[in-house]
C-alpha cells in the first residue's frame, strides 16, 4: 500500500513540476537551474538518516556522512550562488 502511495505522489509531483515551470524567460534559465539544483540537495534528508540511523555499522555510517558532506555542498553552494546571480538581476530593475 505504501508503495502505491509513494508512486502516486511521484506521479502527481511530476505533472505539477511540468505545469509549474513551462514558461521561463531565458534570463532566468541559469538561476532556475542552479536554484533547482540546490533543491536536489534534499537528498541530505536521506543522508542524515543514513548517517544517524545506522549505529552498529561504521561503513553504512561513513557512507551516510560522506553523503551529508556532498549534499550540504550542493545545498549551500546552490542556494548561495543562485542568490548571488539573482541579486545582480535585481540591481538592474531599479535603473
Amino acid at each position: 500500500m505504501e508503495t502505491i502511495l509513494l508512486l502516486f505522489i511521484f506521479t502527481l509531483a511530476a505533472f505539477l513540476g511540468f505545469e509549474l515551470i513551462s514558461k521561463v524567460p531565458s534570463q532566468l534559465h541559469t538561476p532556475l537551474m542552479s536554484g533547482s539544483n540546490a533543491i536536489s540537495g534534499i537528498t541530505i534528508v536521506g543522508a542524515l538518516i543514513a548517517a544517524g540511523g545506522t549505529a552498529g555499522s561504521w561503513f553504512a555510517t561513513g557512507l551516510g556522512a560522506a553523503a551529508i558532506v556532498l549534499a550540504t555542498i550542493n545545498v549551500v553552494g546552490g542556494y548561495m550562488v543562485t542568490d548571488r546571480m539573482l541579486a545582480m538581476f535585481k540591481k538592474k530593475g531599479g535603473k
Partner: protein, 478 residues
C-alpha cells in the same frame, strides 16, 4: 520504521506533516523562481524549506534511537564541512565559471544520493533485513541514476573548465561499447532485484555502481562543448531524479516531491535547449556532433576581409543602431565589463544599443544573461532571438563577440549543413557585421561560418577584450 512501543519525542505523523509543509514551500519557491520579479524571494523560500526539512529530520526516531554523542558529532561535523565548502565555492566562483560550478554541484547531488542508497542496503545486510522487490528496485535505480549523474557531471566539468578537450571524443564502435555497458548495467540491476542471497546481491550492486560510473563518462564523452547547455540541463534533471529515487529507498515524501520538481524543471530546460538548436535529444546525445570533419561542410565562396581597429571605430562612430551578439568567446575572454563600457559610450554617442542573446549561446542555459547582468547591462537591452532579428533588419552594425554557430547563415540556407534548421540570430541582416575573433579557425562544430565570408562582414582579429578595450580608448580620445 519501528512499530514497537517506543516513546516518540516527535511523532512520525508530525514529522511527515512538516515534510508536507516543506514540499509546499518548495513548490511555491520553484514557481516564483520562474518569474523575474519574484525569483530571488522564491529561492529564499526554497532555502527555508530545505532548512526546515533538515531540522525536523534530526528528530526522526531512527536517529534519536541510535544516536550517541559520537554520531551527533559526525552529523554536525559533516554538515559543517559541507556548508563551509559550499559557502566558499559560492562566494569565490567567477560568473564566467558558473557552468563548471553548476556541473560540479549536479555531480555532488548525484553522488550523495548514490551513497544514501548504498548505505541503506549495507545496513539492511548488517541487520539481516531483506527489502522487498520494490525497495531493491529503488535502491538500484538511485545508484544507477546517481552514478551516471556523478561521472557525467565530472566529465562535463572537465570539459567546461578546459581540463580536458571540449571537443567531442569519438572512436569507432563507441556506440556499441556504450550500448554494451548500458545492457550490462541493466542486467546487473535486474539480477540485483531478483536474487535473494545477500552476498550475490551485494556484489551485483557493487558491479552496478562501477558500471553506472563508467556509463556516465562514456555517455558524455561523444558530446561536444557547444552542446553543453543540453547536457547540463539533463544532468540537472538526473540529479533531481536521483534524489527522488532515494526518496523511495527511505520512503520519504519530501525527497520524492522535491526531487521530482527538479527532474521536471531539468527536462523542460533540456527541451528548450534542444529546440533552440532544432535537434532532438537523441541527436545531441548520440551523434558525436562536431567530431567528424568533412562531409556536408559546404564550400564557402569569397574571402574573409579583415579590418583594423581604426576603421572599426569609424564604422561604430557613425552607427545609429548597434547590436552586440555575444557568444562563448566573450565568456572565455571575460570581456563582459569592457563590452558594457563600449555599449555605454555608443549610447552617449547617440546610438541605440541592444544585445542579441541566443538561447544556446555559451555553455549553459542563460549563460550570456548572467555575464551581462554581472556587467550591469540594463535588462531592457537584452533581446531574445525573435526580437533581436527584427532589430537587426534595420541595424547599422552587428558586433559578433565570440559567437559562431548561432550566427551562421548556413543554418538557414545550406541544406547540407549539419546545423541546417537551427534558428539563428540573423547578424548578416545588419549593414555591417564586425566579427571579433581570435583567429581564422572554425567553430566548435568544426564548420566554416559563411557569415565571415559575406561582403558586409569585416573580421577584427585579436583577443575580444583587447579589441574592445582599444575601441573604448578611441571613443574616449575623441
Amino acid at each position: 520504521m519501528a512499530p514497537q512501543t517506543t516513546h516518540y519525542l516527535v511523532s512520525p505523523a508530525l514529522i511527515n506533516f512538516v515534510y508536507i509543509i516543506c514540499s509546499v514551500l518548495f513548490i511555491i519557491g520553484i514557481k516564483m523562481l520562474g518569474k523575474a520579479q519574484t525569483a530571488r524571494k522564491g529561492n529564499i523560500i526554497s532555502a527555508v524549506a530545505m532548512f526546515l526539512a533538515v531540522v525536523i529530520t534530526l528528530f526522526d526516531q531512527k536517529i534519536l534511537d541510535a544516536a550517541d554523542p559520537l554520531t551527533w558529532a559526525i552529523l554536525g561535523g559533516s554538515v559543517l564541512l559541507g556548508a563551509l565548502i559550499g559557502l566558499f565555492a559560492a562566494k569565490t566562483v567567477k560568473m564566467t565559471s558558473m557552468p563548471e560550478m553548476v556541473a560540479l554541484l549536479n555531480g555532488f547531488g548525484g553522488l550523495a544520493s548514490l551513497f544514501v542508497a548504498w548505505s541503506e542496503y549495507h545496513y539492511n545486510m548488517v541487520e539481516g533485513y531483506h527489502p522487498e522487490y520494490f525497495g531493491k528496485s529503488a535502491i538500484i535505480a538511485t545508484i544507477l541514476i546517481g552514478g551516471i549523474t556523478f561521472t557525467g557531471s565530472i566529465y562535463a566539468w572537465g570539459k567546461l573548465s578546459g581540463k580536458i578537450s571540449g571537443k567531442a571524443q569519438v572512436y569507432s564502435g563507441q556506440k556499441m561499447v556504450n550500448a554494451a555497458i548500458a545492457i550490462a548495467l541493466l542486467a546487473c540491476s535486474v539480477a540485483f532485484v531478483v536474487i535473494g542471497d545477500f552476498h550475490t546481491a551485494y556484489i551485483l550492486m557493487i558491479a552496478g555502481i562501477a558500471l553506472s560510473l563508467l556509463l556516465g563518462f562514456a555517455a558524455v564523452m561523444p558530446i561536444g562543448g557547444g552542446d553543453m547547455p543540453v547536457v547540463i540541463s539533463l544532468l540537472n534533471s538526473l540529479s533531481g531524479m536521483a534524489a527522488s529515487a532515494a526518496g523511495f529507498v527511505i520512503s520519504n515524501n519530501v525527497l520524492i516531491v522535491a526531487g521530482c520538481l527538479v527532474g521536471a524543471s531539468g527536462v523542460i530546460l533540456t527541451i528548450i535547449m534542444c529546440k533552440s538548436m532544432n535537434r532532438t535529444l537523441g541527436n545531441v546525445l548520440f551523434s558525436g556532433f562536431g567530431a567528424k570533419a568533412g562531409g556536408g561542410q559546404g564550400t564557402v565562396d569569397g574571402e574573409m576581409k579583415p579590418m583594423n581597429i581604426e576603421d572599426a571605430y569609424y564604422v561604430l562612430e557613425a552607427a545609429q543602431s548597434v547590436v552586440f551578439i555575444p557568444g562563448y568567446g566573450m565568456a572565455v575572454a571575460q570581456a563582459q565589463h569592457t563590452v558594457k563600457e563600449l555599449a555605454e559610450l555608443l549610447e552617449n554617442n547617440g546610438a541605440e544599443v541592444n544585445f542579441a542573446i541566443h538561447p544556446v549561446a555559451g555553455r549553459m542555459p542563460g549563460h550570456m544573461n548572467v555575464l551581462l547582468a554581472e556587467a550591469d547591462v540594463p535588462y531592457e537591452q537584452l533581446k531574445e532571438m525573435e526580437e533581436a532579428n527584427r532589430i537587426l533588419e534595420t541595424a547599422d552594425v552587428a558586433i559578433v563577440i565570440g559567437a559562431n554557430d548561432v550566427v551562421n547563415p548556413a543554418a538557414a540556407e545550406d541544406k547540407s549543413s549539419p546545423i541546417y534548421g537551427m534558428p539563428i540570430i540573423e547578424a548578416f541582416k545588419a549593414k555591417t557585421v564586425l566579427a571579433l575573433k581570435r583567429g581564422k579557425g572554425a567553430g566548435f562544430s568544426g564548420l566554416e561560418n559563411s557569415l565571415f565570408f559575406r561582403p558586409n562582414t569585416r573580421m577584427v582579429y585579436g583577443d575580444a577584450k583587447a579589441t574592445i578595450n582599444e575601441l573604448v580608448g578611441k571613443f574616449k580620445e575623441s
